[in-house]
Amino acid sequence: MMLGRRSDLPLKGDATSRFLPWLVALMVYLSAVAVAGTFVLAGLVSRWDHDVAGTLTVQVAPVPGEAGEMLTDERVRQAVDLLRRTTGVKTARALDKQQLVALLEPWLGSAEVVRDLPLPRLIDVAVDPDIRMDLGDLAERLAQTVPGASLDDHRVWLSRLINLSLTTQWVAIGIVLVIGGVTSATVVYATRTGMAVHKGVIEVLHLIGAHDDYIARQFADRAFSLGFSGGLLGLAMAVPTLGLIGWAARRVEGGFLPSLSLPIGGWVVIALLPLAAAGLAMYTARLTVHGTLARMP
């Protein structure tokens, strides 16, 4: 009973009272995981976008042979000079060998192994995002001036990554919508069953002058109450699960995975899921009762 309102229908003992909260609990649990995934991915996309926007990387291939190291250093200097003269470039900084080794260490193992490999040299370039640069022209000039130099503006892999993330987000949103649809369908079934079970009581209420909404409200109140208790149960199950995933993700961070923290907005949405589920159940029950009663004399 919502807000302590009186109910003339004996809905408390119905079989639906037993299964609906568990079903809603499961739906809220799955929705919470899907919502958390959506928010984490949205955060990742925005962070990648922010980190990579305004940066370029110039790669200079190592020159083989005994004098290779010196020649490579010379080419890096030339590339840095060219970049610094280019309009729109704020800074151009060549990474030294130690920094390169540190970057590759999580992937290739100990520094000793990596140090002897012929590694390409990297130049980290910061550009002014307000100035539109002709990156094609810059890449061409680099290739002509510095043999073995190439320009990477991160856009290709970033756009693919963002596409992947956005697709995954839409899939997660789709899952939440399907869960909402399944919850609604279950409430429709439960309400119709309840109406069939209490047909006699509904008839009496009608004959003494009850409006359809008087009857619908009682089913809606019950659906809200069951939906909310089920929703809280689902939330209680989802929070430890999300905590566990977060803990596991933090353990494998350190280069491989970016931070997978759920923003406060995500927690707010997840906290509101029981209320949303209860509201959906209430609204669906009300519509179902009105629809069914409209077919009665």
């Binding site: 009186r6 003339d8 004996p10 006699g200 009581v201 008839e203 009496v204 209420l205 009608h206 004959l207 003494i208 002058g209 009850a210 409006h211 359809d212 008087y214 409209a294 004399p297």
Partner: protein, 229 residues
């Protein structure tokens, strides 16, 4: 209660027929009119169609043909959402009582007031008073399953009259009570009638009809009204 001037027709049937599904007509060419403030016994043998006629009168069904006019409203032209307002002006005592088993006697009788949105303080004042009047003061909180047939009938009657209806329809309201209680209930109906309620009582109890012979009778046989006295 919005009583009408006595004498105006509160209910009118014109060539009404009723059939259940594809079965034969259980009511045929029913034509009569009841003046406001009248008191009629509805008599006839078992299976004559008394309950079906009452069902049409309390808007439990719509006729399959003909015209029913209730409180000046042609039922065929009345929108579904207007029905509750009409039904609130009608009190019904069902032959099988149709009490809600999970509610106490008090809550059963309070139902018509609660669906109208009457204040709970008013409900708690009037319902015990009426239940006391029908001899059930000590059964306010009893569930119907613990009451005898006669007690259930009195609860059903109290539920029908609590809203001071314009039209009271009772299907065998004295079928399960002794003579003393039957008389008492009939006096209650007469009191309501004096206050302006139109009464129609379907009954088999010929003795009772004879005792209150000053009230006219609507006699039905083979699905047709034979006479309105």
């Amino acid at each position: 209660m919005r009583h009408r001037p006595r004498g105006e027709h509160i209910i009118r049937f014109d060539g009404v027929g009723l059939r259940y599904g594809l079965g034969p007509e259980v009511l045929q060419d029913i034509t009569f009119a009841l003046p406001s403030g009248s008191f009629h016994f509805l008599t006839g043998p078992s299976g004559a169609g008394k309950s079906s006629l009452l069902r049409l009168m309390y808007l439990g069904m719509r006729p399959t043909r003909g015209r029913v006019v209730l409180f000046d409203k042609d039922i065929a032209l009345t929108k579904r959402y207007e029905f509750p307002a009409l039904r609130r002006r009608i009190g019904v005592v069902f032959q099988d009582f149709r009490l809600l088993d999970h509610l106490s006697a008090l809550d059963n009788v309070a139902l018509p007031l609660r669906v109208r949105g009457v204040k709970e303080s008013e409900v708690q004042k009037h319902v015990p008073e009426l239940l006391g009047w029908v001899g059930l003061a000590d059964q306010l909180h009893a569930k119907p399953s613990t009451l005898s047939g006669g007690q259930k009938q009195r609860v059903a009657i109290a539920r029908a009259v609590i809203g001071r209806p314009d039209l009271l329809l009772a299907d065998e309201p004295t079928g399960n009570v002794d003579d003393h209680i039957a008389m008492r209930l009939l006096y209650l109906f007469e009191e309501l009638n004096k206050l302006g309620t139109t009464i129609v009582i379907a009954t088999h109890n010929e003795g009772l009809v004879q005792r209150f012979a000053h009230h006219p009778r609507l006699h039905i046989e083979h699905g047709t009204v034979q006479k309105v006295e």
